[in-house]
Subunit: 115 residues, 4 copies
């Protein structure tokens, strides 16, 4: 079993033991994904670069928890919608490779449609 | 190499070929994570249950791309901050197991502090 | 003094008494706006239509507070960037009127580019 | 008529001419509010302080439009839920005044529970 399959198995076991599948429609799970992503972002609010560097050093555990909460929803949604996330990810990276050709994109933070 | 490590290797190769590490501070990467999560959510906006079921069937590819975009930032941020996301995830699930005891949480969508 | 000017005056007095202008750059204030908007959304997470109707009746006060938090940032950002929000709003509604012609948009939840 | 009432009247006229009230449940309107807030935030992504200052000067019009989109949902949701947003706002500012006493909060970007 791969890593990703292992984590998905943990999620589904956790979810099904609580009989929560009934709540997991696409709209509410996507909404949950957004909420967890904003919880990570909140850690960096108002802080300047130096403050963030200090903060990150001292709060690795909680930041790892926030990232895990986001990953939870990515994997659960993929699973429920029948999406092989590893395969989808590799395909998406091929698209990104074409959208952002190295020659044009190198050192630039512009969006692909502005390159 | 595990599959999470494999995906991280793809990300870092893609990023470094474009010399983008210079932009990847915690605040802007977390902001990007939020933006990608909202792009997924937008697919389900205004649609009722039946419309979503139909939509999901016909748009699996693009939904897989949106989920991949979120996963990209989860893995990149974890990597850059020195967080072993697989390990962090398993620890977080142990915490969630305690926060949501099966007896109390079964069949309920309440938050742990309201159970 | 108009309503909106009155509310902006309250915000600026509150902010300046705390010497917080130093933190109010566009990136962090926009990030705050997003966080407050997600706090409102969280109230409706997992709830079905009936549960939401019940919830709204009993939680008008706190929902009003969340909406106020969002309005706070809309008005503060407008003020700080020298944008007359009332004027901008009216102009935007003219654009929306053209983007969503009544004949095409009536009864449809499609985006303007799909009408 | 106050200017907030004037803007709400514009919104309701626009909405009702399109027969869109049927879609405006609390969950989807809050979701829309979040999406519009993130559209504003996206303008500042990846940019450093100097780049943002330049950008803001040249893009006041579009930033005003994004802020208007957020305001649209704040006012529409308030209206639909029977919340007097001006009154709610003033009450919320009284709460904030107590949560962030000037003596403690002056010059600090800490949250009230960390002051």
């Amino acid at each position: 079993m791969s890593d990703i399959q292992e984590l998905i198995a943990i999620i589904i076991k956790f979810r099904d033991a609580r009989n929560w599948k009934q709540f997991h429609n696409p709209k509410d799970t996507a909404l949950s994904l957004v909420l967890e992503a904003t919880e990570l972002m909140e850690h960096f609010q108002w802080k300047n670069e130096k403050e963030i560097a200090d903060y990150v050093k001292k709060h690795k555990k909680v930041i790892g928890e926030e990232l895990s909460d986001v990953l939870y929803w990515v994997l659960l949604i993929s699973h429920d919608l029948g999406i092989d996330i590893k395969k989808a990810f590799k395909k998406k990276m091929e698209i990104s490779n074409k959208k952002y050709p190295i020659k044009k994109a190198k050192g630039s933070h512009k969006k692909y449609n502005e390159l």
